[in-house]
């Protein structure tokens, strides 16, 4: 490797997150006497990354465009609660979960369009808008439609999807665990997001808008349309991801997503996305989500009790924001 490439590499936040992740895995592996890298623990961690990882990717594309979406958990909750409720009431999805997913995507897209319409047309601060719509959407779910928890009556195909797996693995004690099929969704989404951000006009437009909206407009990007499409897509994906969680958890709990944004957004920042837009990569984001999932799944193994989980989450937020602030300072120089 030549010197300039090395220099470029060491400047990137992703690189350090990756190093920290490796160091952490090695550290926990030693402290827990080799229990972290047991196959059963690994598949559980991968499973834990599916939903959070996909959420992080939609946060990433919003942040690349210089926006902030606080409402994605609320959109997700509305979409899966409504879709599941309809499926249960109509007796749908006994053998094929497709209808449920399509409904969730549709609901998500509608709420996303609402976000996009306000943000694109009125040119308001995205954080303020989505803070408002977050409460509004939660109001729709809990108040207007009074959506209920669905557990034992969940459509059979949702359960089947959640239970389906690729491989069985066994740990040294002979305990069996499985690698969930839904890991495919995460892999596809990583690939597609990566492709869109790097290879498509839409992706370039997002970086351009995030870098400097006025210049992007002058350079010929249709800022208004790009932003609208962005929030529709993010909404639709939020709905989809919500359904994946319903299948995995085998329950639809309208309030299960509360506070999710405060867990995901700091992780995305930690992964190298700038809160000022125009920067961020899929690799960094996935590493950061890997980091928090590894930690939350190994607290017990290393003998740290539940209280400390909050401490760690707070630490991630602090580190993430500090990194962003330092970046901003550097840029101004």
């Amino acid at each position: 490797m030549n010197k300039t490439a090395w220099k470029r590499l060491t400047k990137r936040t992703e690189f350090y997150i990756f190093l920290v992740l490796i160091a952490l895995i090695v550290g926990i592996q030693i402290v827990s006497h080799g229990q972290l890298l047991e196959p059963t623990t690994l598949v559980t961690i991968l499973r834990g990354m599916v939903v959070d990882g996909m959420f992080a990717l939609i946060c990433l594309i919003v942040m690349v465009s210089g926006g902030f979406d606080l409402s994605f958990p609320a959109i997700s909750a509305f979409a899966y609660s409504a879709a599941t409720t309809i499926c249960v009431n109509q007796g749908w999805c006994k053998t094929n979960p497709l209808a449920g997913f399509l409904l969730a995507i549709l609901f998500g897209a509608i709420l996303g369009a609402f976000n996009g319409w306000i943000i694109a047309n009125f040119k308001l601060n995205t954080m303020i808008v989505t803070l408002g719509t977050q409460t509004f959407f939660t109001g729709l779910t809990m108040g207007l439609f009074q959506m209920k928890e669905i557990t034992s009556t969940l459509p059979a195909s949702f359960r089947a999807l959640g239970e389906s797996y690729f491989v069985e693995v066994y740990n040294s004690q002979g305990q069996r665990s499985t690698l969930t099929t839904s890991i495919v969704f995460l892999i596809i989404m990583i690939a597609v997001t990566s492709f869109i951000l790097r290879k498509t006009m839409f992706g370039r437009a997002l970086y351009a808008i995030g870098g400097n909206e006025v210049s992007a407009e002058r350079a010929g990007f249709n800022v208004k349309r790009t932003k609208f499409i962005l929030y529709v897509v993010v909404g639709a994906l939020a709905g989809f991801i919500g359904m994946v969680r319903v299948c995995l958890a085998r329950q639809s709990i309208p309030k299960a997503m509360v506070g999710k944004e405060m867990q995901i957004i700091p992780a995305v920042i930690l992964g190298g996305a700038s809160i000022f837009g125009g920067e961020g990569s899929v690799f960094g984001t996935v590493c950061a989500i890997g980091l928090i999932t590894v930690v939350s799944n190994s607290m017990l193994l290393v003998g740290i009790d539940s209280y400390w989980q909050n401490f760690f989450n707070g630490l991630v937020i602090l580190i993430g924001i500090t990194i962003s602030a330092v970046q901003a300072k550097r840029q101004r120089r």
């Binding site: 108040g143 207007l144 309030k255 193994l301």
Partner: protein, 370 residues
């Protein structure tokens, strides 16, 4: 034009949000509109008792001042959760049987501050009887004191340690449920082996007290059982987290044989992990749980039994006790509060204790209707 549209939209958003929170109706037009909007939806959802609007409540208060009908409020830990939906049905039933209206209103998420806010609103509206199940008993003390100073009858459940209440209703004493769960688990485990306790959250008083009592029962009656070093884990009242925790626990403690949970998500989540790990018949879990959520696990033998009481009956007992007090009757040891398991209640200072713990097994899982 754009601005007008935005303002309209934002007001609409505000109205829905207000309706959802059931915030106290002020005199301003917009919030009154929101309240009636909430009323409209609750009626269309045929849950007339639930989410009674502030306007309606105010009207009821006036009615109460003129006649002898008490205004009654019931504040659950949270709205929209299967357990509390069931309680809501019970309260509606009681309402129909007795002819007394009940305002049933709680926070939309498990949130101590939001719950206290709702209680404060109800106290300010001047209800006569306030029944509630606190998310955080300590956080409720101040508002309960205010309520009692105003002459409001305050009755809690799952909060036997509270000070500023008239009475607390428990389906069993804490030692009762903790011991009951431990006895059931010990039976499954053959009275020997390692076990751990699980709760929904480390700050939920009743769940932690039951877990303490279960451990005490083990120390007294089952000397061959052993509590592992981590002692207690919390699953944030989420079955998915309970599932992850169980897998971690079994990784860390290969000889773990029992998981004693006291939250309603513990056993369903743990059972899913036990099933996946292929440890049926080797690892046993029990907790308090809704029958419908453990039905499959009881049927295939992953779980042997779960513990429960009928929360709707507890709610009805709270309401009965409140009305009795309102009518000037004294609550006494051995009195009949007119529900199953409460024909002759125990009275420990301020705590009304019934005999309501029940074991749900594969044989009776369908008998309860929830």
């Amino acid at each position: 034009m754009k601005k007008k549209l935005l303002v309209t939209l934002l007001s609409a958003a505000m109205a829905v949000t207000l309706g959802a929170c059931g915030s106290s109706g002020g005199s301003s037009g917009s919030s009154a509109g929101a309240s009636s909007a909430a009323k409209g939806t609750s009626e269309s959802a045929s849950a007339s008792v639930s989410a009674t609007s502030a306007v309606e409540a105010a009207a009821e208060v006036k009615k109460a001042e003129t006649g002898d009908t008490p205004t009654i409020a019931f504040v659950p830990k949270v709205m929209g959760q299967a357990w509390w939906d069931y309680v809501q049905k019970g309260v509606e039933e009681w309402s129909k049987d007795t002819g007394y209206d009940v305002i049933y209103k709680g926070p939309t998420e498990i949130d101590a501050a939001a719950q206290v806010q709702i209680m404060t609103d109800l106290v300010n509206q001047g209800v006569d009887i306030l029944c509630f199940s606190p998310n955080d008993p300590d956080a409720c003390e101040a508002i309960c004191k205010q309520a009692r100073d105003k002459g409001i009858i305050v009755i809690s459940t799952e909060a036997s340690g509270m000070e500023n209440i008239d009475y607390d209703v428990e389906a069993f004493d804490e030692a009762g449920m903790g011991g009951f769960l431990m006895d059931q688990l010990a039976k499954s485990m053959g009275e020997e082996g390692q076990y751990i306790t699980m709760v929904g959250s480390m700050t939920m008083e009743s769940q932690n007290n039951w877990a303490d009592a279960a451990v005490a029962r083990q120390e007294e009656a089952y000397p061959k059982m052993e509590l592992v070093a981590d002692k207690r884990v919390a699953d944030d009242s989420d079955a998915e987290k309970a599932y992850e925790l169980t897998k971690q626990l079994l990784q860390k403690y290969p000889n773990l044989k029992g998981i004693l949970g006291t939250g309603s998500f513990d056993a369903p989540g743990a059972a899913r992990a036990i099933q996946e790990l292929g440890l049926q018949g080797k690892v046993f879990a029990i907790s308090v749980a809704m029958p419908s959520e453990v039905k499959d696990y009881l049927a295939d033998g992953t779980l042997q039994s779960v513990g429960l009481w009928d929360p709707a009956i507890s709610a009805k007992v709270m309401l009965n006790a409140g009305v009795d007090m309102f009518n000037g009757k004294k609550i006494e040891e051995g009195m009949d509060l007119q529900e199953k398991g409460y024909e002759a209640v125990k009275l420990n200072d301020k705590v009304i204790v019934g005999d309501g713990a029940i074991a749900i097994t594969n044989d009776n899982v369908d008998d309860f209707g929830f």
